[in-house]
Assembly symmetry: C2
Homo-oligomer: 191 residues x 2
């Protein structure tokens, strides 16, 4: 998605040739117009698929999933929760995630009432790197016995192995910008 | 907002005559169509106001703010972060919140680059109860010297004192459903 790549080149910040910071349009300040273009693009990539629900993970996936859902007939969005919430039903599907950025393990949990075996679910998230969060979302859907329509990712870092993990599970993966490497602080996309 | 009140009566769950659980349409599973109606209603309530940015707090405010921004000419949304993030700029406005639900204190932080003194900011959030989170968001805007256009809340629990706190700071408050009490597990709205 050319517009997204241009935005990353213009406003993204590469830190220590390893981390891409996109706080100024994706995960702290949010560019709503760009998010609408992202939603339309996801619809294009999954246009012949029936989708009954969108699943994402808190925090950064939520706004993208909510805007995207509008292009899929306003299907409900379910976001997996990262933390134990005191008023969350204990009746949940859960799966573990290891975060490289924070060097710690946490759980993603979804209330069993909100995904059923009859659902056809599109997973949406902001980043795909090592694939740990992506695997956890897929795992939650396995447990729910819902059909996995596919996974739509805004930014994929292709050198961190996530794609292999997702595709090995038989999930169709569509990433809107795929980063091949960082060279002297500049983002290089896969051609 | 009648449609929202009906939704709360139909799908909200009152726990121990004290907590209103709206996980099934507001803060775990999200009803995108309802969120669009909420966004339109906020626009109506603040229709003569110039808004350059919407501020909310993670997690539950994000989707509401993102959908609402579409009715305010797609202004950017900034969400205050709850946790220290390793790649968040240390150059932040911050303020403390005490959560009664979790009985603990946490910080809300906003990168100084994302709110300027020239901004006219509408605060949007899902709940107003004691007003601790609302006060922190107002405090962050004081520090940024931005103009506060007002505060739009989806569900206000009017018996917990938040409104007084917000109005004492001179902030125009618009809540779409105002709960007066819980009586035998049934939500009673303010007339």
């Amino acid at each position: 998605m050319e517009k997204l790549k241009q935005k990353i080149l213009k406003d993204g910040q590469v830190i220590e040739n390893r981390i891409l910071k996109v706080d100024n349009f994706l995960n702290h300040k949010i560019d709503i117009q760009l998010f609408n273009d992202i939603g339309k693009e996801f619809k294009k990539r999954f246009q012949n698929k029936e989708v009954t629900k969108i699943l994402t993970a808190e925090v950064s996936g939520i706004a993208i999933a909510a805007i995207t859902a509008q292009y899929f007939d306003n299907v409900p969005v379910v976001f997996a929760k990262k933390h134990d919430a005191s008023n969350l039903n204990s009746n949940t599907y859960e799966s573990e995630v290891y975060s490289f950025t924070k060097n710690k393990t946490y759980k993603l949990r979804v209330d069993k009432n909100y995904i059923s075996c009859e659902d056809k679910v599109l997973i949406i998230d902001d980043f795909l790197a090592s694939g740990s969060a992506a695997s956890a979302l897929i795992d939650i859907l396995y447990k729910s016995k819902a059909e996995i329509v596919g996974m739509g990712i805004v930014i994929e870092k292709n050198f961190q192995g996530g794609r292999k993990l997702v595709e090995e599970k038989g999930v169709k993966l569509e990433s809107l910008a795929i980063i091949d490497s960082f060279e002297d602080g500049v983002v290089k996309f896969v051609k």
